[in-house]
């Protein structure tokens, strides 16, 4: 098992945090894991991203060039990373900000109304967790529950409130994805 994840978006969208949540959860699960941010001036006003590799074996490069899972929160990151998703991989994106026509049929693509769902979950800032929830539904190398547990045990959410909101967001994302999958497979 090796999952190569890219989470990308604007600086303020919590993409680094979303990646860290995945990484902590993977560590807690007993996987090998690396988390690698974009860094330096690239972040400035542009796209921030991080790369998470989760594996049951030694991880070579933490740099992901062909993600098996891409979680993309804004337009520029979509333009940049959507074409790089590995065949057979999954692309989860934030339809609230991205409205591009998806043309690849060798990957699974899921447009999540992230903002709307996050607001329903209680805070637009939980957008990142909505997409993580959806992603894990599609690529179930870990459970959303594991993420919730991780957010809690490593005190990653800022407050009990935010924790609750994040958990709801994960669930909403997952639910959305599952309905999509079932609609597809049915």
């Amino acid at each position: 098992m090796q999952e190569s994840v890219i989470v990308a978006g604007f600086g303020g969208q919590g993409v680094l945090f979303a990646g860290q949540a995945l990484a902590y959860a993977a560590m807690d699960t007993g996987y090998q894991v690396t988390w690698m941010p974009s860094y330096g001036p690239e972040m400035r006003g542009g796209t921030a991203y991080c790369m998470v590799v989760v594996s049951d074996q030694h991880i070579g490069s933490p740099v992901v060039t062909q993600p098996t899972l891409a979680i993309l929160l804004n337009g520029p990151s979509y333009s940049r990373f959507a074409p790089t998703v590995a065949a057979g991989g999954a692309l989860i994106y934030n339809a609230s900000l991205i409205n591009e026509a998806q043309t690849r049929d060798d990957i699974l693509t899921l447009d999540v109304p992230g903002l709307k769902l996050a607001e329903v979950a209680g805070d637009s800032r939980a957008l990142n967790m909505v997409l993580v929830g959806a992603a894990l539904a599609v690529r179930p190398f870990m459970t959303a529950d594991r993420i919730k547990h991780t957010l809690d045990s490593h005190h990653l959410a800022k407050s009990p409130d935010m924790l609750a909101i994040n958990c709801r967001a994960l669930d909403m994302g997952a639910a959305f994805a599952e309905s999509f999958i079932s609609s597809r497979t049915s």
Binding site: Q20, Y24, T34, W35, M36, Y39, P41, Q57, G60, S61
Partner: protein, 364 residues
């Protein structure tokens, strides 16, 4: 201690603290800045010395001063900053006092970029300033190793009264990985015997690198060379995998080494009897063990994130007869496992007589 998910830069900083770092001086530069920022928070909390210097030149000379005062001291930087420290490094080395410098390498030359690279292998292993000496150089391949080698760096520095460089790169510095931290050591209750502490109840002490008469200069250099000879004998460090029955050796350090590991693993899975040799000490280069291994294999591949620098050390160990292939990426490019694997396979098929793939067994 429980495993923690830590960024390399932060892990090195915390490990240094725990190893007894008493005074840190540094200047921001990507991709090492988190190290400085972390210590900006932690050192004052512990009542220890943190100071952001006005430049890398000032930083290394503050380190020089702190080392003269007998403190466990450290700075950290990257390419351009390391270049600015060369004079200070040479003075520290010429003064026979311990200090630790963390170099989180990035792409060069010039301003280059801030992406991971190993382009300063020569600078850290060969010159590190003017004059005849080498620092001890340690190259971590993971965050855990960065932690462990940071502690070792301080111990070696103190033991040999010698400069130690922890040569990481942007990948190690920026990445988060699970790791275990060492326990917090108590700070020493007394100062080392060379420390300038005021000449109270003892003769005055002097620390300098000036030997005006060439005879004295030579004597001092002989002392340094003798120390280096001992270091070469005692401090060679390396890690190896799959080497027992290997007929082909991949050699890489730091990030390139960890990526090479995955490639070798994959090659094994494809039945190639490849092994991995990962130098931990870049100076002293682990040529004793490497030579033994090279005698056993039919060829080797050096993997670096540069144009081929350690390559020279390997060629020195390999002699003329063993074919040495090279795979390098430059300017901040990080090779993928697939890149290295395909370089491995093509070198393997070229060099190894019996290179028809046999389905072998993977072992670590």
């Amino acid at each position: 201690m429980a495993r923690q998910l830590m960024k390399g830069n932060v892990a090195i900083a915390e490990a240094a603290l725990r190893a007894g770092l008493e005074a840190y001086f540094g200047y921001p530069i990507t991709p090492q800045t988190e190290l400085l920022e972390y210590l900006a928070q932690r050192m004052p909390e512990l009542g220890r010395v943190f100071l952001q210097a006005e430049s890398e030149i000032a930083a290394i000379n503050m380190v020089y001063g702190a080392a003269c005062a007998g403190a466990r001291t450290m700075t950290s930087s990257s390419g351009p900053g390391m270049s600015l420290m060369q004079e200070g490094l040479s003075y520290i080395a010429g003064s026979d006092i311990p200090a630790v410098v963390v170099d989180v390498m990035r792409g060069g030359p010039g301003l280059g970029n801030i992406q991971p690279s190993q382009s300063d292998y020569f600078q850290v292993t060969r010159s590190a300033g003017h004059g005849d000496y080498h620092p001890i150089v340690l190259a971590p391949g993971s965050v855990q190793e960065a932690v462990d080698l940071t502690v070792l760096a301080f111990d070696l520095a103190d033991h040999y009264r010698h400069l130690v460089i922890l040569a990481a790169d942007g990948l190690i510095g920026q990445m988060m990985e699970p790791c275990e931290l060492p326990p917090m050591r108590p700070l020493p209750s007394s100062k080392p015997d060379y420390a300038l502490t005021g000449a109270k109840d003892r003769p005055a002490r002097r620390i300098a690198s000036l030997y005006l008469k060439p005879e004295d200069g030579e004597a001092h250099n002989r002392k340094i060379q003798a120390r280096l000879a001992q270091i070469r004998e005692s401090e060679q460090r390396s890690v190896e995998h799959f080497t027992e029955d290997a007929d082909f050796l991949v050699i890489g350090y730091g990030s390139a080494g960890r990526i090479a590991y995955s490639a070798v693993e994959a090659a094994r899975a494809q039945g190639l009897r490849a092994g991995l040799f990962r130098p931990i000490s870049l100076y002293p280069f682990p040529d004793i063990r490497l030579s033994q291994l090279l005698a056993q294999v039919e060829g080797c591949l050096v993997v670096e994130m540069n144009a081929g620098q350690m390559l020279e050390d390997v060629r020195l160990a390999a002699g003329h007869d063993l074919p040495v292939a090279f795979y390098g990426r430059m300017g901040g490019m990080v090779p993928t496992t697939e890149d290295v694997l395909s370089a491995l396979k093509s070198a393997y098929s070229e060099f190894v007589a019996e290179s028809a793939p046999v389905v072998g067994k993977v072992k670590g």
